[in-house]
């Protein structure tokens, strides 16, 4: 089912935490709301759920305006970061609770609970209490409880952040597979960009209560809308160096990089992905830099270098070796570089 947010905003007192957010979530889509803490992503999710009132704008689910509906009338299920399992109910009672409220018969509840429990592989835990379960098992129970009544929309508020790293990776894959299988529209909140990139059909990146970019993971990585998006997405984040843009030439220290285009921006930023750069001899590179440190990661060496005052990271072959403070050159293809206006953060697109 579709979820449409039309210029939704939220203020707490005089503080505006969400500015006119508009989203159009397709049927069966996995949309990730990504952002740092305080970016408004959780508030947006809670407003879709109906747990938070709307200060402005409309929300509709499956074409029905639910802006003023109570949470229980929105036909959405939510998985909380804390799992929010009812501690006085067994696993079976926890999963069956949404059905019990809908006055379903006892036998129907039992069959459905068993079915969904088998799906998330907790069939043998049904008689236990939440306190007797491990973190991963609790996570599955919370998931089963959300799945059992086939809601129009799944809402997930950082569901994996309380799991240890190994389990998180595993659950991530399971979640993705399950969402594909059930085909239920999912809105997923996270601060973890890896989670966002791996799970999402589309990522909505929020910062300061404003939507920065809404695009498929590949697009958001390869074609960032602004400096913030470029620096948020990617591990390591995009390298930036400050200089000025002079009619199609980027001037950084004594180096001049031909960028194409004709703009002149006095306070500009050049952006480069770590994997698009090569370390070469100082006289062969487009930009000269000073080596700061190099770390062997395994399949590659991560070279940190200084361009003026800016630190940049470069992925070099694992055989790379160099001494500290050695002068190096950085080479790259011109079409792999990004230009931004440093004052506004906006991308400068070359015509």
């Amino acid at each position: 089912m579709t979820v449409v947010l039309d210029a939704v905003s939220k203020s707490f007192g005089n503080v505006k935490v969400l500015h006119d957010l508009s989203l159009d979530v397709q049927d069966g889509e996995f949309l990730v709301l990504l952002g740092a803490s305080g970016s408004g992503k959780s508030t947006a999710l809670r407003m879709i759920a109906g747990l938070e009132t709307v200060s402005g704008g409309r929300i509709s689910i499956s074409g029905r305006d639910v802006t003023d509906e109570l949470p229980k009338n929105r036909d959405v299920a939510m998985v909380f970061q804390s799992y929010a399992l009812y501690p006085h109910k067994t696993v079976a009672e926890n999963i069956g609770y949404p059905l019990k409220i809908r006055r379903m018969s006892r036998t129907d509840i039992e069959t459905q609970v068993r079915e969904v429990a088998a799906q998330v592989r907790i069939g043998e835990l049904l008689e236990r209490y939440p306190r007797e379960l491990s973190g991963g098992q609790r996570q599955r129970v919370a998931l089963a409880r959300a799945m059992v009544r086939r809601p129009s929309v799944f809402l997930m508020d950082e569901p994996l952040s309380n799991l240890d790293a190994k389990l998180r990776g595993h659950m991530r894959a399971e979640l993705k597979h399950m969402q594909h299988e059930l085909g239920i529209t999912t809105i997923y909140v996270t601060h973890d960009q890896i989670e966002a990139m791996t799970l999402a059909h589309r990522v909505a990146l929020l910062e300061g209560g404003r939507l920065q970019q809404l695009a498929a993971p590949k697009t958001i990585y390869e074609d960032p809308e602004n400096l913030f998006v470029a620096q948020f997405i990617g591990s390591p984040p995009m390298n930036v160096a400050h200089g000025r843009l002079d009619a199609g030439t980027f001037v950084i220290g004594q180096d001049r990089v031909a960028t194409g285009g004709t703009e002149t921006v006095s306070n500009a930023v050049i952006g480069l992905r770590a994997e698009d750069c090569q370390v070469v001899a100082p006289e062969d590179g487009a930009i000269r830099a000073q080596l700061f440190a190099n770390e062997l990661i395994g399949d590659h060496t991560l070279v940190t270098a200084k361009i003026g005052d800016d630190m940049v990271s470069i992925k070099a072959p694992k055989e790379f070796e160099a001494g500290f403070d050695e002068a190096i050159g950085i080479a790259f293809e011109t079409d792999k570089l990004y230009l931004f206006n440093r004052d506004t953060g906006a991308r400068i697109r070359r015509s």
């Binding site: 949470p71 929105r74 909380f80 799992y83 009812y86 501690p87 939440p130 007797e132």
Partner: protein, 343 residues
């Protein structure tokens, strides 16, 4: 649960220590139980045994007799039974009412934000004082006066309400509640008496039940407030998303999780209502007389203080409270919220 001081099990102690620990425990048990023992043997004592100095052991120090028990349960059977039933009906009803109403009020204060305008609240108090004044001074029928007061308040609030800017918060309401309990009951007992006189409810169960409910509400609200606050809000939000109404959330999630608080509060309120004397003294004369009044009547007769009869009454008075405590104590347990949320 981490303990600052983890006491070793008594089974793991050295024999010498064990003996010492048991000795101390035995002494303490005797110390705590002695008053009850004293009441019990006094109820079997005759007047001479009581007045001729302390005697401790039945059959050794004195010859027990059933005269006090006989007096209360044979000669005065109907009076005793009536007072006992009055006490039971009043204490149980008042406890149930104050726990039910109080826990709901407390939950509302813990989870909803109220911002009544100060001016409107003040206006309500003024209008009600005015209504009361017309009853007292001009003999207007109280029902008429109350209805008129509410109507006047409604229209005044509609007309002027939004001009008042200052607002009260939940904390103010909560403090107002407990301030009703800070007030000494003796201050309000005469007004309460007069109010029930107006509506001809003196010496009835309903009057005492209403009064006890009201004086116990602040205690219930204050005690339950902390319990409700400590329940993770995620659980309630999750239940709402699962399709539950606010009331259903309260019944299915909040109450079961705060049952140890409810049990403790119920017990406390029950004991307070069961033992209450002052208000019962004013509000009951004969038909609605409760047990504490009966006990007090025993040291006012021309025969002097009837220690033996008092002891009998005290023993039968302890029984319901003990039964309730035994029933409720299994609900008073720790760790109910374990496993609800990770954090």
């Amino acid at each position: 649960m981490q303990w600052l001081f983890e006491p070793p099990s008594i089974r793991d102690m050295a024999p010498g220590t064990k003996v010492l620990v048991y000795a101390i425990l035995t002494f303490w048990t005797a110390f705590v139980l002695f008053p009850i023992y004293w009441v019990l043997i006094t109820s079997f004592k005759s007047a001479i045994d009581v007045n001729s100095g302390p005697v401790y052991l039945p059959f050794v120090d004195f010859q027990p007799s059933l005269h006090a028990w006989k007096e209360l349960f044979v000669f005065d059977f109907w009076d005793t039974l009536s007072a006992y039933m009055n006490s039971l009906i009043i204490a149980l009803s008042a406890t149930a009412a104050s726990v039910i109403i109080g826990s709901m009020a407390s939950y509302a204060l813990a989870r909803f934000e109220y911002q009544p305008r100060f001016g409107v609240v003040f206006m309500f108090v003024l209008v009600m004082i005015g209504a009361f004044f017309t009853v007292g001074r001009y003999g207007v029928d109280w029902r008429l006066s109350c209805a008129a007061g509410v109507a006047v308040f409604y229209f005044l609030a509609r007309a002027l309400g939004r001009h008042f800017k200052a607002r009260l918060s939940n904390g103010d309401i909560l403090f107002w509640m407990i301030s009703q309990r800070i007030l000494a009951p003796i201050v309000v007992v005469v007004p309460i008496y007069m109010m029930f006189q107006q509506v001809s409810l003196l010496d009835t169960h309903i009057a005492i039940i209403l009064t006890y409910t009201v004086i116990n509400l602040p205690i219930v609200i204050w005690l339950m407030y902390d319990f409700f606050k400590s329940i993770p809000i995620d659980l309630e939000e999750c239940a709402q998303l699962d399709g539950a109404t606010r009331f259903r959330v309260f019944l299915d999630i909040v109450l079961p999780l705060s049952r140890s608080g409810l049990a403790a509060t119920t017990l406390l309120v029950m004991i307070l209502s069961w033992n209450e004397y002052l208000l019962a003294l004013f509000l009951s004369t004969s038909r609605a007389q409760t047990m504490p009044i009966l006990v007090a009547a025993m040291n006012a007769g021309e025969r002097g203080i009837l220690w033996w009869s008092m002891s009998v009454v005290i023993i039968v008075m302890i029984i319901p409270v003990v039964i309730l405590a035994i029933i409720l104590q299994r609900y008073i347990s720790k760790g109910l919220l374990l496993g609800a949320v990770k954090g």
